[in-house]
């Protein structure tokens, strides 16, 4: 009935909104023609945040960079109304974000999305979040205080030359603010239908004259979501995190950063286990504990305008006490980089990296690792030369990384990029790059039971090799006026040695209990290609109104394996995604922010297409106080965004509402 009613309404509305659109464009034009709002009315803190428009500063660097990239600013993040990193990433073209349940997301770039999406590298302040056991990022443990994030850089396409293995299809770089820019007190708190209660407290101060610091703590408690498969909804998630950052400018040439975080959380989850008594599958509910932390030190020294070096050391620890597989991962990483200009037209960056990680696991009949504990060492070196052929017009980048790992020995990841900026309005770029994804521990050493007794055991073959990609990309950026930017990129990726699965005929085994063994092995027998495009436009209609529109398309074709495996790889990413965003300032210090996103269906896991509408209404009551009300997923009452397997663990993402109060002093 509803359906019947809405269609005519849409038809009647069409001419109306066409007329109104025209009106909007006209009024928008009028806004643009108006003189810019006065800079003299801003609070001093706001002036500190303004970027200077000059020919060679950062926004320009992005404009002329020979890669497909999007940068989210602190303002973009604040106004999105998002409360976690993956939710923020929803608005970036080309990034696939699907929430599986309260504590887990599938996040990927350019295809192959999965809970453990293994071709995306996520870094937080130079620290890798890549989980060597499952591959990919476990989003239930990686969090930051979003108010302290300076920017999030999203690079679509391979970045192996600079970032190393696993940066196959993209890199997400989360960069927090220098503590000089987070002075004073900031307190936030809120309640909501899903974000049941949350809050954060940060204090920034100075030590002596040249050092600044901040300390923070944050907490959230998120509600469970209705599950279609289990009778018990148990995926609620709480998380407590604290940390600090110290930035010390020792003298003109040297600066030191020391930062760290600790966290502890509880993640609710439904799962299946195999009963040790009956050897049959049973479902269960658990709230497993997560714990961990990290400590990072970075020393930067500049020798001259064109030469500097950075030495960074970090330690991180991640513990998941999940019933299925308890895991503890410790990582120590040392990184050195040096930039210099041996000749006027060459800028060379080179670096060395060493990473040591050791893990300890405690598995169950459903999944265990053999051996249970393992150390892994990675060492690598890279060199990249940026050659200026015509100053400020034409440049070429040549680079290569050589990396050694325990599983597959030496891996080489070269790239070549070219950027042509004929004038300040246009940039054309193209690149060819190669990247690899090294095997995870589970792929190498995992044994999991896919069925209950008497059919049991499936072993992963332990010589799976690295997956490889060669990516051909090109792009175009057009900025006819300072308030308008069009960004287009096209890609064609060829994958080889892609992970495939071989099932061998069942056979009988008498030990330890008599059973029929159904073994499957991982192989590298698949290959394939993907192609697609990302296009976006940003338009500052006036100083009070920013509009953003984007569209992403991807087509995935895999070969040389059974068709069900093709479907698995091909049908987990949306072919089409559409993004619309509007940030509007209303009279009375009120902000109205709207994000609309369309996500195409996922054929393999039978997820229907859906449209999300998020609306944020913010009010700056005074210099100190800010109140906001955020509605998320307003269009439908609930939809499923992702499931790991067709028919498994499907949780509905419902319509959500929360309110948040911020106090700055």
């Amino acid at each position: 009935m509803l359906h019947y009613k809405t269609r005519p309404a849409g038809r009647i509305l069409r001419p109306v909104w066409l007329a109104l659109t025209t009106l909007m464009l006209i009024s928008g034009g009028a806004h643009a023609a108006r003189k810019d709002a006065s800079i003299f009315d801003l609070a001093f803190e706001e002036i500190l945040d303004i970027h200077i428009m000059t020919a060679s500063k950062k926004p320009e660097d992005l404009f002329t960079s020979p890669a497909s990239a999007t940068v989210l600013t602190a303002e973009d993040i604040r106004r999105s109304g998002a409360t976690s990193i993956p939710e923020v990433l929803r608005m970036v073209p080309g990034v696939e974000v699907a929430r599986i349940n309260t504590g887990s997301w599938a996040v990927s770039i350019r295809g192959f999305n999965n809970e453990h999406a293994n071709k995306l590298l996520v870094m937080i302040d130079g620290r890798s979040t890549y989980n060597p056991l499952f591959a990919g990022t476990r989003w239930d443990v990686h969090d930051v205080m979003l108010e302290d994030v300076d920017r999030i850089e999203v690079i679509r396409g391979p970045g192996g030359t600079l970032w190393g293995s696993n940066a196959v299809n993209g890199i997400i770089n989360i960069i927090t603010k220098n503590s000089r820019d987070t002075q004073g007190v900031l307190a936030t708190g809120g309640v909501g239908s899903h974000e049941q209660e949350f809050g954060a407290l940060r204090y920034g101060g100075t030590v002596g004259r040249s050092a600044h610091y901040r300390v923070y703590a944050k907490y959230f408690n998120r509600d469970d979501t209705p599950s279609k498969t289990f009778s018990d909804d148990a995926d609620d998630h709480d998380h407590l995190q604290g940390g600090f950052r110290l930035d010390w400018r020792i003298d003109d040439a040297n600066s030191l950063t020391l930062q760290g975080d600790v966290f502890s959380g509880h993640v609710g989850r439904n799962g299946w286990k195999i009963s040790r008594r009956t050897l049959a599958f049973q479902d269960f509910t658990e709230h497993f504990a997560t714990r961990g932390g990290n400590l990072l030190g970075r020393w930067s020294r500049s020798f001259s305008e064109t030469s500097d070096m950075t030495l960074q050391i970090y330690y991180s620890r991640e513990v998941h006490k999940e019933r299925l597989l308890k895991e503890t991962i410790n990582t120590t990483d040392i990184d050195f980089q040096h930039r210099f200009r041996p000749f006027k037209s060459h800028e060379i960056v080179w670096g060395l990296n060493y990473r040591y990680s050791n893990d300890h696991t405690d598995g169950t009949l459903v999944l265990f690792l053999d051996p249970e504990d393992r150390d892994l060492q990675l060492y690598s070196g890279f060199i990249q030369d940026t050659i200026t052929l015509v100053p400020e017009r034409l440049s070429v980048i040549l680079g290569i990384k050589a990396e050694h790992n325990k599983y597959t020995d030496m891996e080489y990841q070269p790239n070549i990029r070219i950027a042509w900026t004929p004038n300040t309005e246009n940039t054309l770029w193209a690149s060819v790059s190669r990247a690899v994804r090294i095997p995870s521990r589970v792929e190498r050493n995992g044994i999991n039971n896919i069925a209950a007794w008497p059919f049991m055991l499936s072993k992963n073959k332990n010589d799976i090799k690295s997956e490889r990609v060669v990516a051909y990309e090109c792009g175009y950026r057009f900025r006819p006026a300072p308030n308008f930017l069009l960004d287009l990129s096209l890609f064609y990726n060829r994958y080889s040695n892609y992970r495939s699965q071989t099932n061998i005929p069942a056979f009988f085994v008498a030990e330890p209990v008599p059973h029929i063994e159904l073994a499957k092995f991982y192989d590298n027998d698949m290959d394939g290609e993907t192609y697609g495009l990302d296009i976006s436009a940003t338009w500052d209609v006036s100083s009070d109104w920013r509009l953003f529109a984007g569209y992403s398309f991807i087509d995935i074709h895999m070969h040389n394996a059974t068709s069900s495996q093709h479907n698995q790889r091909e049908g987990r990413s949306p072919e089409n995604q559409v993004y619309l965003r509007s940030y509007l300032n209303l009279p009375g210090n009120v902000e109205l922010d709207i994000i609309l996103k369309y996500t195409d269906n996922l054929t393999h896991v039978k997820i229907h297409s859906y449209t999300r509408l998020d609306v944020r209404l913010g009010w700056h009551i005074s210099r100190q106080w800010e109140l906001s009300i955020v509605g998320q997923n307003l269009i439908d009452s609930g939809h499923v965004e992702y499931v790991n397997r067709a028919g498994s663990r499907s949780n509905e993402i419902e319509r959500r509402l929360y309110t948040k109060l911020i106090w700055r002093y």
Partner: protein, 208 residues
Amino acid sequence: MGIIGSHAGHGTLVHVKCASTCRFVQVFLCVLLLGTLVCGEPRRSAAKPIREAAEYKVKAAYLYNFLMFVTWQETASKTLSICIIGDDPFRDYFSEVEGKPVKATDRHLVINRMHSGKTISDCIVRCHVLFISASEQERFADMVKKLDHAPVLTVSDAEGFLESGGMIRLLSQGGKLRWEINQTAVKRSGLKVSSLLYQSALRVVNRP
């Protein structure tokens, strides 16, 4: 809200796509329009997202804000003045605030553009904030020396300004404007400067 409410199943896959895309666009535009109509004549608000501005526009805003962070001993004057000596890079940036009361005070803003030939005693009498243009680089030390002990906040964006005894040097870092401050010079002038200017400075130096 019929257009938003429906989530009923549609016929074929193609149908679903079209219908939901159309609705998608409709909803977006309608909400936008509502916004536009409501804010037909937007007023100034404290939360303007100015993200980028010309270099000297930002510098002008800094000089203007410095007036609020410094306390001058004499209170008789009904004006606060910013002087610019040497080549004037500020174009007409100050025009919208010139002659009007300075925010949070009842004193009116005066902009004095001074020729480099002007005597220093002129500056002492007429300036609260003195911006010394990079064109005067060779005369920095001399000028600053003559201003010794005078209640004038000296600002420049030229290199070596603090080393010559100047108080605040503006410089850009990471695409944003920042400053360095010379505590000795400020103390010598007897000006009372808000601690914020020290706390948020890139560098605090003590150069005689």
